[in-house]
Symmetry: C2
Subunit: 431 residues, 2 copies
């Protein structure tokens, strides 16, 4: 078997066999197949596509390019949850404690923010001491003993994916749906997931900007899950406007904690309950979504979800006093309230512009390895469909630099569109 023949086959739109895909991934991982062949292959896949069977083969080959976690001695059923990324998406931070409080152990490996989209690890690091670099053994031990883990991805999981992603980033082959789907799913499988709830975001602030793309990605990941023998559910959720009110690392953790307290913005709370219900059903803790939702609501109401979060923070070395006294979180130097410039109804809060403005403030990173400012960000008071009066507070900007504050104000005002006629609110979920 030769790498060039596999590239030619995909170039000519023919379907690759399992053996061919395994040969290619194995060769790429161990260095026998050089980057220049892998990038030509990625471009051929980008332009000619892959069938669900090929994509599943690619997913499994990448999952098995390194260690594959076996959690069967730790939990009855390992459920994972994945969001395709967006602005203000702090769902994992609230949902994991909710479902863990309902008796379903959950361990999750999250990522860092890149581009306009935030990352769970950056957010959690707002809590001093919180470790996101657990070893595999620590992961398994904590999952068994505490029933909840939220850490970074081990370096030894799916190394082919990390190598391939770095190459795709510089060769124009990022937005290939089979490559995105296999990259997401191989990490879930390598991390030991037997069931996965996928939260695929669509809209202005998502990587999948159209509903068609989002649905294609969701369908493909569900197909991979089925072919790979993993129970998989995909939700299509809105990312035209930011999720919840807070955008920024500490601000989002505060909002997630408030939500565990029974507060928080209505849309975010609703989003979390819906995702939690799916996780509980997939994890065989609830017989249907209604029961799952009721269990999650109860975990909030009786304080057990918040208590699980406290357990999580403590187990991973974080300062638990931050959970009980949120005023301890680092505050930005400047907090400016921006008022509505006119009367009207909010017709758009452009999530991507908000996300990019938060990166410019310092909350995210333009390139890998950039430092992150945990204190800065936004709190957005209104949602699409809300009516506002001129002079009424629209949002808050938290900044550590006056010049950046001015830029952020300009960007946030441009992200908000106000119209005279009333506008229906955006749905939380599409499907």
């Amino acid at each position: 078997m030769r790498a060039v023949d596999i590239i030619i086959k995909k170039r000519d739109k023919r379907q690759l066999t399992t053996a061919e895909i395994e040969f290619f991934v194995r060769g790429f991982t161990n260095g026998d197949i050089p980057d220049y062949q892998a990038s030509a292959f990625a471009m051929a896949v980008m332009l000619n596509g892959m069938t669900p069977t090929e994509t599943t083969d690619l997913t499994l080959a990448m999952a098995h390019s390194g260690q594959v976690l076996d959690l069967s001695d730790v939990v009855d059923i390992a459920v994972d949850k994945h969001s395709s990324g967006g602005v203000g998406d702090k769902t994992s931070i609230s949902v994991l404690p909710m479902v863990a409080a309902c008796g379903l152990p959950v361990g999750k490996m999250s990522g860092r923010g890149l581009g306009f989209s935030g990352g769970t690890l950056d957010k959690l690091e707002s809590i001093p001491g919180y470790r996101v670099d657990l070893t595999t053994d620590e992961f398994k031990k904590q999952l068994k003993e505490k029933g909840i883990v939220l850490t970074g991805q081990s370096l030894d999981l799916a190394p082919a994916d990390g190598k391939m992603y770095a190459l795709r980033d510089v060769t124009g082959t990022v937005p290939s749906i089979p490559l995105i789907a296999s990259s997401i799913m191989c990490k879930k499988i390598a991390a030991g997931a037997q069931a996965v709830v996928l939260d695929v975001k669509t809209g202005l602030g998502a990587f999948m900007q159209t509903m068609d793309e989002a649905r294609e990605l969701a369908d493909l990941m569900v197909a991979i899950g089925r072919l790979a023998g993993r129970k998989t559910v995909a939700l299509l959720s809105d990312m035209n406007q930011p999720l919840g009110a807070a955008v920024g690392n500490a601000l989002e953790v505060i909002e997630a904690i408030e939500t565990l307290h029974g507060g928080g913005p209505a849309d975010f709370r609703e989003h979390c309950l819906h995702v939690a219900a799916h996780v509980l059903v997939l994890g065989q803790c609830a017989k249907d979504l209604n029961e799952g939702r009721a269990m999650a609501e109860k975990a909030i109401a009786d304080g057990s979800a918040l208590e699980k979060f406290r357990v999580l923070v403590q187990a991973q070395g974080g300062d638990v006093s931050f959970v009980d006294d949120m005023s301890r979180f680092e505050r930005a130097k400047y907090v400016e309230v921006v008022n509505a410039p006119r009367n009207g109804f909010i017709s758009q809060i452009h999530a991507r512009i908000v996300g990019e403005a938060s990166v410019a403030l310092g909350a995210g990173r333009a390139k890998k390895g950039d430092p992150v400012d945990h204190a800065v960000g936004f709190v957005i008071h209104k949602k699409v469909g809300d009516q506002v009066q001129k002079g009424e507070p629209l949002l808050e900007i938290h900044a550590n630099d006056e010049e950046k504050l001015v830029e952020a104000r300009k960007a946030l005002l441009s992200a908000h569109q106000l119209v005279d006629e009333s506008v229906p609110p955006l749905p939380l979920f599409y499907e």
Copy 2:
């Protein structure tokens, strides 16, 4: 400007600007743009194509990636001739002396054989001492003083093309018509050509197997020539059966010399006269093809073409006694005559099978750097359309190894198809 954005633009089927193409070729040549970006780019071009304007920009950028020969102080008009490669194609060896004898100085840089297709340099090296590694200064000096040069390509010409070709070979991006066209034309332009006669082969023994592909390549190269300010003519010629009778290095040189003597196979002589006429017209030595052809015929008849070949061989250090006494060429150990297995008409002599059989005998190379056996090959007595009687000699095999001889006989008999009904001969040229 970033390489990845240029790749993305081509991935998305948008047209690249001159500046973008120059940036990419310059960066690739000097190593700023790594192979893995160039191969992704090549695959995007392979699958999404390039306009004639883009291909011309690519051609000129690659031509200028190294030294560009200026022959204006040496000749009035530098005419070059290029064949897209085939089996039994020794045209340059006969045509260059013909046109040089007519007073048109011609210098040509040729290539080596690869795969089933022979190479002019390998053939010429059948003459002991013949140098194919002239320096640029030697090239210019000989062109000025002798009016004829036939050597290998200088290493400093179009280095981007050499680098790109090596990459295409291992990334499945060889059969891209814009990449083939720019690779051919950039070398012609770098070698100083102001006018080019292109002999594009089509058929079973050509790289362009269908007429449509051959025409597309020819049209694109003519368009590049026009956009780059070079007079360019393209001929479409047949490569379903081998050209002439001889296939193999020394055997082809002998046939080329016989042709300069006024002998040689009718089809090869006709092919050479036609190509020579075009070269003479483009070089402004003849007012039309009829005059050009008459001039070339006269150069054969009066011995001046053969004398020019003698001058060429002597100038490049070759043993001239081989030109005058062809029995001096190395002979293979075994020469076997293969007779027709039945009565009939020849309907096919599959050029690719013949070419591959000659490589297997040792006349060509499977990969770069392999040694070549100059003595071995075939002399094919009949052409498509000829009638043969059972037992009549069909061809000769020249071999240095008995086992290979047996294999070659099998292959050559399978390449020849005999049918009962009469078959029209194949045309030499299509357009």
